[in-house]
């Protein structure tokens, strides 16, 4: 080691001016460069990760488009769900994967932890690279030389499914990968998994030889070692038999998943995409066929000028944009005159412009939505069988919001020819999502599309699925803190110390970030309007569906956007507000790994460097986001989230079948004995587990103190109440916030308020005395070993296991099937995640959704009336009987399938109830529950809001 150091000291001129620590770092760095082709990689120093993580960044850099935008999605070949309706289970979760991430944690630390020089080097590279892109018209020229793929020796036959890879191994210099690392990881640098007695490569150990050569790809099968056939029985034995440095000849079979694409002469890892991913990234070849299909359905978009039309102009006069198909094949274009007339005529009669028209086309009811911008008009046609009028309005306003987010204004979006391709793509996704509804993810080619459209009946009502709100899944408090912490760390953009001395201005300010897991929002540090923008973008681009249904190996999306919080970048001369938004440019950066997705909004300009021209993603920021995801995964947040989504304990719901079963069995007993019996095995097991582990119980209890109410308390709280509770809810609700912090918590998540984070931090460390709390979670500030983090991981998981399920309903039994809690102002929605859908549940849910939509529209009367001033109120045209409605309920009957011992079909009644709250913030709660014990919606909503405290 000493020898190498001196050697590199001589070669490296620049190291002298740095401190001793950084000198060492730089030497290791250069050592790695020198030795990388035969090294044993004995160094575990963090600095070596530079080259390691390069591997990740180089992949996507070749995909950057000429305007700087990037849609890079690589699906994970081994993690694809067999049936997309089933939740994905991470097959690696217990075995190899955790180790990989443990190793990669050193990567994640590198940018937090010291390593100034590394950052600097990386930073320069990225700057240099950006310049390259700017200068050269061909973005592929960027960093070609450093691409390990192109460096790979070409003497190995690539096309064959079988090839032999030479690998120099040295068992004497083993890398310290922790005691649980397998021999394949330590020796070969390959993370393997056994599948049907064959060995597959699932990942590389960072910086390992194999990862650099990239001759072995993820998904490949290891067929032989030194000519011996490998099975899962002898694989470890063969490797353990190696006791001296030698050259291994690995027989590798190319991953069967990749066979089709490997003929493209592209790297397999880049080209593997599921059909869904391909559609999202816009690389679907049969787009034209899809367009033809759309032409046959009653959908369409038209963007028109309202002025400047003359008699006898060309036929398509005033049409700025039209989709699908060209002007002639669009059914809207022939009748656009009618809509133009109505649009100009109706304001004369009723003061407000039209919002929608319904027409019959070939016997099919079609809704046409009007959206005005300036003197231009957007018309969107959607068939009634796919969405009702109310749903169509919501869908369209979402589409418009997304287009404004990506293009600043509709006018810019539709008028500028360079955007046409993107807008076509957006429209294609929008309409195909609508036409195929929940089958969208499964559509693979046009033939199946055609069959699908035949097959699919009318779309089921989709109330909460299209509400303008992100579906938030509040994790347990500890995990929530981990996420908040990691996101804050990322947002702090803490590279200033290394840059100041070198007069290097930051490229971007991070405006906020949020984290999705399987399509559900886990945490958001956005102002609410930005959160909505981002959420709408993800939903309209199909990213949420991708995130939910499929696991990606890597996802990087980069696009210039115009967030609402900066008034879409329009400097309005009229507003004389004291605070002027900085002039600048904004970019959305989405980074995904497996089923986690991190969305970040970046601002250039203001205090950061102002930019001109097209901007390709900055390597440093992408890596920082990727590292944050890695870190979150390491701390176990993703596995907790998965588990949390599966168990759904807080609040716990009940499925209709269980409700019936328990009704038939338990009620009789209860009424006879006057006792309560728990028929819920999950509840029992988790309850006993919490009793058995005193430490756990302690921590939960101490944390909860009045916030979590364990069920025993609940049951002892006695008979049904709610009858006595005052119905005069205004006073009741008003008294709530003073008692509890929950509303504060719900409300202010999204603010960029450092005190909030520190506050919760502080509170938690005070409240809790569990062991992991003591060790600091700020991985960046303290030397944290991997074992600490895995402990953290475990303790977090344990915490989930020990959670006592909570119940929303009053009365002895749990009777809630479904709920939706919307905070429109914050753009956040709480709703359960159903793991399986029985026919009964589907029936109940679709009743729930259609009714809830009706209630939601009814509540709009009350909401809009509240906003009116006194004088306006008396002149408004709202029906006066509707202006004060705050609760609405409907009772439905659900027929249950016949069971063996019953003669007549049994049925069950359930309520769908909606409630509107104004204090402290306007919120709507919709609950679906079995008709047994009467429920007080105010209490129920309160309990629901409590769940957000974790």
């Amino acid at each position: 080691m000493m020898h190498r150091e001196t050697l590199s000291l001589m070669t490296s001129n620049s190291s002298g001016q740095f401190s001793e620590e950084s000198t060492a770092t730089s030497e290791n760095e250069s050592c790695d460069d020198v030795k990388s082709w035969q090294s044993t990689n004995s160094s575990s120093c963090s600095s070596c990760t530079d080259s390691g993580s390069d591997e990740g960044s180089v992949e996507w850099e070749s995909e950057v488009r000429s305007d700087g935008e990037l849609y890079y999605i690589v699906s994970d070949p081994l993690h694809q769900p067999k049936n997309s309706s089933e939740p994905v289970t991470d097959i690696n979760i217990g075995t190899a994967d955790t180790h990989t991430s443990a190793l990669k944690d050193s990567t994640s630390k590198s940018w937090r932890n010291g390593g100034k020089l590394v950052r600097l080097i990386r930073r320069r590279e990225s700057k240099r690279h950006r310049n390259n892109v700017l200068k050269s018209t061909n973005p592929m020229g960027g960093r070609e030389k450093q691409n390990p793929v192109s460096q790979a020796p070409t003497n190995v036959m690539k096309e064959g499914t079988d090839h032999v890879v030479e690998l120099n191994v040295d068992p004497w210099v083993k890398r310290n990968l922790g005691r649980r690392a397998t021999i394949s990881e330590t020796l070969l640098g390959l993370v393997t998994v056994c599948h049907e007695s064959e060995i597959f490569v699932t990942d590389y150990v960072p910086d390992s030889l194999a990862s650099k050569q990239s001759l072995i790809k993820i998904g490949d099968k290891i067929a032989s070692i030194n000519g011996k056939v490998v099975t899962h029985q002898n694989f470890n034995a063969l490797l353990e038999a190696i006791n001296m440095p030698m050259t291994l000849y690995l027989g590798v079979c190319t991953n069967p998943f990749d066979k089709a694409s490997s003929t493209d002469n592209k790297s397999d890892r880049i080209s593997y995409q599921t059909p869904l991913a391909a559609r999202i990234s816009g690389q679907l070849s049969n787009h034209d066929d899809l367009k033809k299909l759309l032409c046959q359905s009653s959908v369409g978009v038209l963007y028109l000028q309202l002025d400047g039309m003359t008699e006898g102009g060309p036929e398509d006069q005033g049409v700025l944009y039209c989709y699908p198909g060209r002007f002639k094949s669009n059914f809207l274009s022939s009748i656009r005159g009618a809509f133009l007339t109505l649009f100009q005529l109706i304001p004369d009669i009723s003061q407000s412009p039209p919002r929608s028209s319904s027409i019959l086309v070939k016997g099919q009811l079609v809704h046409v939505i009007y959206v005005q911008e300036g003197r231009e008009l957007l018309l969107i046609a959607l068939p009634d069988c796919r969405c009702s009028l109310a749903e169509a309005m919501k869908q369209c306003s979402e589409l418009v919001q997304m287009l404004q987010f990506t293009h600043q204004s509709l006018s810019r979006c539709f008028s500028l020819p360079e955007h046409t391709k993107f807008v076509d793509h957006v429209m294609c996704i929008f309409f195909s999502r609508l036409l195929f509804s929940d089958k969208w993810a499964e559509v693979t080619d046009v033939d199946s599309c055609r069959n699908m459209t035949m097959m699919i009946g009318p779309t089921l009502p989709q109330f909460e699925l299209i509400l303008p709100a992100a579906h938030l899944v509040p994790l347990p408090r500890e995990a929530q803190m981990q996420i908040d912490d990691a996101l804050s760390e990322l947002e702090s953009n803490d590279i200033g110390d290394s840059c100041e001395d070198l007069d290097c201005q930051r490229l971007y300010t991070i405006l906020g970030s949020c984290l999705y897991h399987k399509g559900y929002l886990l945490a958001s540090h956005f102002p609410h309007c930005d959160l909505l923008d981002v959420h709408v973008f993800c939903r309209q681009q199909g990213l949420l569906q991708l995130n939910q249904g499929e696991s990606v190996h890597s996802l990087v999306i980069w696009k210039e956007v115009y967030p609402k919080s900066v008034s879409r970048g329009l400097t309005s001369s009229t507003s004389d507000s004291t605070y002027n938004f900085p002039e600048g440019r904004w970019f959305i950066m989405i980074v995904g790994q497996k089923q986690d997705m991190l969305v970040t909004l970046l601002e250039a300009g203001g205090c950061s460097a102002s930019l001109d021209g097209h901007h390709s993603p900055d390597v440093f920021y992408v890596e920082a986001a990727q590292d944050t995801l890695q870190h979150l995964k390491k701390t176990g947040v993703s596995s907790i989230a998965s588990e949390w989504l599966e168990t759904q304990l807080r609040p716990k719901l009940i499925s209709p079948e269980v409700a019936i079963a328990s009704r038939n069995s338990s009620r009789r007993v209860n009424s006879l004995l006057g006792l309560r019996v728990h028929h819920d095995p999950i509840w029992q097991s988790s309850f006993s587990s919490i009793l058995n582990s005193p430490s756990n119980r302690k921590s939960t209890d101490s944390l909860s103190a009045g916030k979590r109410r364990p069920s025993p308390d609940h049951s002892s709280s006695g008979p049904l109440h709610g009858g006595e509770t005052s119905e005069d809810s205004a006073s009741l609700v008003a008294s709530l916030p003073s008692d509890d912090t929950v509303f504060v918590n719900v409300k202010s998540r999204s603010e960029r308020d450092p005190t909030h984070v520190s506050h919760s931090d502080h509170e938690a460390s005070e409240d809790s005395d569990s062991d992991w709390e003591a060790s600091d979670i700020h991985a960046g500030r303290r030397p944290t070993s991997t074992t600490d983090l895995s402990d953290l991981h475990n303790s977090l998981l344990k915490n989930v296991e020990g959670t006592v399920p909570s119940k929303l309903s009053t009365g002895p039994e749990n009777i809630v099937f479904h709920y939706v809690h919307i905070d429109i102002n914050e753009g956040v929605m709480l709703s359960p995640v159903h793991s399986s859908y029985s026919t009964n549940l589907i029936e109940i849910l679709s009743k729930f959704r259609s009714t809830a939509m009706q209630i939601h529209s009814l509540f709009q009367n009350t909401i809009s009336f509240k906003k009116l001033k006194g004088v306006e109120a008396s002149h408004s045209l709202i029906n006066k009987s509707l202006v004060a409605i705050k609760e609405f309920g409907a009772l439905f009957e659900c027929n249950l399938p016949l069971r063996g011992n019953e003669k007549s079909p049994s049925s069950m009644n359930f309520w769908v109830v909606g409630r509107l709250f104004f204090m402290p913030a306007s919120r709507e709660v919709y609950v679906c529950y079995e008709d047994s014990a009467p429920q007080n919606l105010v209490e129920l909503a309160f309990r629901l809001a409590l769940t957000t405290t974790g």
Binding site: L342, S357, I359, V361, S874, I878, K880, L882, L891
Partner: protein
């Protein structure tokens, strides 16, 4: 709140009439022409324009018999109600003009003149559109000034013709003594040589012959409304077509006032003449004049005073979906009018709890609840068609069993049991789940009594 109804011939686009209800401006010809033109243009492109809606106004187009286009525009109303309104408007044109005249319009100017007789009927129908006829002062004042509300209440209860006016349903009232009267009615119908006769109390059907009950509910509603709009006289004789039963052969609608508030209706052929009919009516009903007079006391309450409902029930609307009739009572717990006049103070205190809506407001709330909640949730698609249903329809769409809403000032609860739908209005202090019990109780009181002939 403004409602417009426009009528245009589809062939030439000639306006036949425009009616307006509410405080808005009436529409100039150019706008009428444009609204029709848009519809016509779409039709030429094989697209049928159905509705257009703005923030608060809905426009509905409908074409009938390929010869007439009706357009309705109304604020704070839904498409469903407006479509019903247009259908009712068209049927009232059929009622008075006949289908032949409308199918082949030879002389639009003549048709225009003939249609003038429909105006009162159409105006009455437009009253029934949700959201009309409530003035704001009663809504806003009744919370703070109960005095004021009481005054309103008294004034309203004076008006006996405060009809529910649900489009497409015929209004009735519940009465114990109706069986004796039925024999009188049968005798009168025999005298008129007709099967169709009914007894009206304050413009509501009390009893009717079986053949009359077989008429479409909309026909029954239009026929009774005709008498309401012609009320100042004591007898009348109008030629009418029955839109569903005989759209091209006219009948004579003979209406005779028996005692103030009570009248008898008969559909008959060329004979007997009006004077003879009046004479016959005197013969048949003379003996029961006192009885008839006592019945008029039911009027604003619309169900017998001997039935006591829970004190929290402010009003109710009971609908029978089989026969398409309904009873509406918005003074369910008020004392009879003559008592109220004696001691107005105490009655007001007892029956008008704080925050209880005034009578006209109650009617309005009940109607709104019916249109906004009950009709969409408690009723299924086929419930109001009244076309002779095939009984064996296997797949029956299920409706909700109950629906309720809670406002700051009142609560409404609707309940459906087989073909009966009951909507009840409560004060805001009634607990939500108590409403369910009270509604069930009320429903059984009103529907199980055989003597009430529900």
């Amino acid at each position: 709140m403004t409602v417009h109804v426009l009528c245009v011939t589809s062939a030439g686009g000639l306006p036949l009439f425009t009616r307006k209800k509410g405080d808005g401006e009436s529409l100039p010809f150019s706008i009428v022409a444009s609204l029709n033109g848009v519809h016509m243009f779409c039709k030429s492109q094989d697209v049928i324009l159905q509705t257009t809606s703005t923030q608060d106004t809905t426009y509905v187009w409908d074409e009938f018999e390929d010869s007439i286009v009706l357009v309705a525009a109304a604020s704070c109303s839904s498409e469903v109600i407006l479509r019903k309104l247009l259908n009712a408007v068209f049927n009232s044109m059929l009622l008075l003009v006949g289908v032949d005249e409308i199918r082949n319009i030879r002389n639009p100017d003549r048709l225009k003149r003939e249609l003038r007789v429909c105006y009162p009927l159409i105006d009455k129908l437009m009253d029934g559109v949700d959201g009309s006829s409530v003035n704001i002062s009663t809504v806003t004042s009744h919370t703070s000034q109960s005095r004021n509300a009481n005054a309103c209440n008294e004034r309203d209860s004076g008006e006996s013709y405060f009809c529910g006016n649900l489009i497409g349903l015929s209004e009735t009232l519940l009465c114990y003594e109706s069986n004796d009267l039925l024999t009188c009615l049968d005798a009168y119908a025999d005298c008129l040589n007709s099967q169709f006769a009914c007894l009206l109390v304050s413009g509501r059907e009390l009893i009717a012959t079986p053949a009359w009950e077989d008429l479409h509910p909309l026909e029954r509603q239009l026929l009774t409304l005709l008498t309401v709009v012609a009320s100042p006289c004591t007898s009348s004789d109008t030629p009418v077509f029955l839109p569903f039963k005989s759209p091209s052969i006219p009948f004579r609608l003979v209406w005779v006032l028996l005692v103030p508030g009570v009248s008898v209706l008969g559909l008959c052929g060329p004979t007997p003449g009006l004077s003879e009919a009046e004479h016959l009516a005197l013969q048949c009903w003379g003996s029961s004049a006192d009885h008839l007079r006592s019945i008029t006391q039911i009027a604003p309450r619309n169900f017998p005073h001997s039935i006591h409902l829970d004190v929290n029930v402010l009003g109710f609307l009971l609908i029978n979906l089989d026969t398409g009739k309904y009873v509406l009572s918005y003074t369910a717990n008020d004392k009879p009018v003559w008592h109220a006049n004696d001691k107005p103070e105490t009655v007001a205190e007892r029956c008008n709890p704080i925050n209880a809506p005034s009578a006209s407001h109650r009617l309005h709330v009940l109607r709104t609840f019916y249109y906004q909640a009950a009709e969409s949730l408690l009723l299924t698609q086929g419930d109001l068609d009244f076309v002779k249903k095939v009984k064996s329809d296997s797949v029956k769409e299920s409706s909700a069993l109950e629906a309720y809403w809670c406002s700051e000032y009142h609560k409404c609860h609707g309940i459906r049991r087989s073909t009966n739908v009951l909507c009840v209005l409560y004060g805001s202090s009634v607990p939500t789940h108590t409403m369910r019990l009270l509604s069930q109780q009320t429903l059984s009181i009103l529907t199980t009594d055989k003597q009430l002939r529900w």
